[in-house]
Amino acid sequence: MPAGSDQGRPGGDQILAGLIALLFIGMVLVASGYPSEPRLLPSIIGVAGAILAGAVALGFGREGEAAGTAMPRTPRLALALFAPPLYAVSLWLLGHWVANLMAIPVIALLLGYRRLVVLVPVTLALTVAIGVIFPLLHIRLPTGRLLRLLF
């Protein structure tokens, strides 16, 4: 289903383009406070970007496939949008071991996966593999701010 609207409402891509245009306008306004050389290219790109994004927002460049598809309104959309930031927060608060041992099975179960006999060992295997390989490469894994405060 195309994102464009037959009833005159703006499509999702037009709204996104409008938001991008506003960002470019903001960029030009912020850059206007810089000295001339640092200001030059951001101003040029900001104006160009605002014009191009504005054109898309007004309906140009949306023929056929270029219009994209409408966002599906399902509970899975909420999970898809919130899972990455929530996982990132848990990684920051709880660290690699706790966050992964919790998040992987929870997200899998929410997505409908029910084979615990596969899920549990796979979760353990990935968590342990990351926990072993990365330190061998001298990469410190996040230890969790909350856990550091508590213990």
Binding site: A17, M27, E65, P84
Partner: protein
């Protein structure tokens, strides 16, 4: 030269060098496939170990990890849409599309064969044509770098799927992202809003992990089934290997572009692979195949990025100017072992340098053999249910983003760009434009300011040098040529039509 190369080959086939090559290849393949790590990181970590090694052993270890890691980046790019190495970003477009059609093994075969040709050609250029190629590279100064960056952005915008306008918008977004932080030439912090953390530029790796990995796993969460939409694997590794030979022109174009970009310091394999991808799409009879599993979409980028990393050794060894980050580490390794890059390196230490060249060739064969043995089993990932795969990918991607510089800010960038990439893709905005804008933006701005310093502020410098003028003219032709040609044909058609009416005199 041939006798020196043969002597070098006989030298590296001793077990002590061969074992180093095999172990390094194995390490490089794995590290290259893990997002956020990459061969350069592995080289940096293992670099201190080379101090106690013999020079040839140390150089071979680093170079082999680099070559194998560059190919390894395409494995995760094809199987899970996550470029393990930034240079594999372009491989995701059609490699992952093939995986979704259940043809992951074929895609891996395409990538393997293309990488083999690319690596071989890059090393051949290094051995046979280092001196003339480097003289050509020396003609490129800041105005030419700026013109090349503009050309790259034009190519991507014009070849963007669906809408050139949306492609240009995304290019501008990429450029805007590149402005955040302290500028390399001017030293002025921009768009940091007082946050010291933003003064360092936004890294390419977290952005790529976000746009490709996080965005894709969000799409996986929306749909059921497996990456391979039919739920089964078809095709074999050998199919991909055979298919590669059916595209000799793609291979030649990829080799030329990869070597050309490799010999010019500072551009990099990411640019080479993205440029070749858009060029192949532009030249294809049916561009709509791209993004849906076109073999050229895998062959072109893989040939070019592997040719590029080998060709980047040309300015490194002949001039002491590293052509890439990996080449920079090799340059340091060379100097640590008491060798000096330049013409004397070739004549003063021929057994070392030709042993190194022979080792590079053996390393390429080693990654092909190892990949043939183990890659077919990796393709099974594409038939796992998305409900299991998506959380695993989420964990691997965001931990990989953290691993990039062990700063949580990279995880935040990955999440933000992931959400943006998810929404942008849904509404037909091509992310390749953003990636190119980010990659080329800083190069363009640095070159722009350096050019103005060279010309004391005169903008005419870009039109006063033949090379930069030619490249900018090519940009104009690319952007406006199709529209001008269309109007010209319409005008000619009208003229012919008017002429035909005049010759047909009405009957009395």
């Amino acid at each position: 030269m041939l006798s020196l190369l043969v002597d070098g080959l006989l030298l590296v086939l001793h077990w002590e060098y061969l074992s180093v090559i095999l172990v390094s290849t194995f390490l490089g393949l794995w590290i290259g496939a893990i997002p956020g790590l990459g061969p350069v990181m592995a080289m940096a970590i293992l670099f201190p170990f080379t101090f106690t090694m013999e020079p040839l052993t140390g150089l071979l270890m680093l170079a082999t990890i680099h070559t194998a890691g560059t190919y390894g980046g395409s494995i995760s790019a094809i199987l899970i849409n996550v470029p393990g190495e930034p240079a594999a970003a372009a491989t995701t477009f059609d490699g992952y599309a093939l995986a979704r059609r259940g043809m992951a093994r074929m895609a891996l075969g395409l990538s393997l064969t293309a990488s083999f040709f690319g690596g071989l050609a890059g090393v051949a250029a290094l051995i046979l044509a280092a001196q003339p190629l480097v003289h050509f590279a020396l003609r490129f100064g800041p105005p030419e770098y700026f013109a090349l960056a503009v050309l790259g952005l034009c190519v991507v915008a014009v070849a963007s799927r669906g809408s050139t306008l949306k492609g240009l918008v995304m290019g501008c977004v990429g450029l805007a992202v590149g402005f955040v932080g302290t500028d390399a030439v001017l030293g002025y912090p921009r768009f940091t809003f007082g946050f010291i953390e933003l003064e360092a530029k936004i890294g390419l790796v977290p952005v790529l992990i976000g746009l490709f990995a996080v965005a894709e796993l969000m799409h996986l969460m929306l749909r059921r089934g497996a990456i391979a939409e039919a739920g089964a694997l078809t095709g074999r590794l050998i199919d991909g290997i055979r298919t590669t030979f059916a595209y000799p022109l793609t291979i030649l174009r990829g080799l030329s572009a990869g070597i050309f970009v490799g010999i010019i310091p500072g551009i990099g394999a990411v640019t080479a692979s993205l440029l070749v991808y858009t060029m192949e799409k532009r030249l294809a009879r049916d561009p709509s195949r791209f993004g849906n599993g076109a073999p050229e979409g895998v062959i072109g980028p893989e040939v070019s990025n592997n040719a590029c990393i080998s060709a980047a050794l040309i300015p490194t060894l002949t001039l002491g100017i590293p052509g890439s980050s990996g080449a920079a580490l090799l340059l340091v390794a060379i100097t640590v072992h008491g060798l000096r890059p330049g013409p004397l390196l070739f004549t003063g230490s021929p057994e070392l340098i030709y042993g190194f060249f022979a080792g590079l060739l053996v390393g390429i064969l080693a990654f092909v053999l190892l990949a043939l043995l183990i890659m077919r089993w990796f393709a099974v990932i594409t038939v796992l249910p998305t409900s299991l795969l998506a959380p695993l990918l989420l964990a691997l991607s965001l931990v990989g983003a953290y691993a990039y510089d062990q700063d949580f800010l990279s995880v935040i960038y990955a999440v933000l760009f992931g959400i943006f990439g998810f929404v942008a893709r849904q509404y037909g905005f091509p992310v390749i434009g953003l990636v190119m804008g980010l990659v080329l933006g800083s190069m363009a701005e640095t070159a722009f300011h350096q050019s103005l310093q060279m010309s004391a502020g005169s903008y005419l410098i870009f039109l006063q040098r033949p090379l930069s003028t030619s490249i900018l003219v090519a940009c104009g032709v690319l952007l406006f040529g199709p529209a001008l040609w269309f109007y010209l044909r319409q005008a000619l058609f009208r003229l012919r039509g008017a002429g035909a009416d005049k010759t047909e005199k009405p009957q009395p």
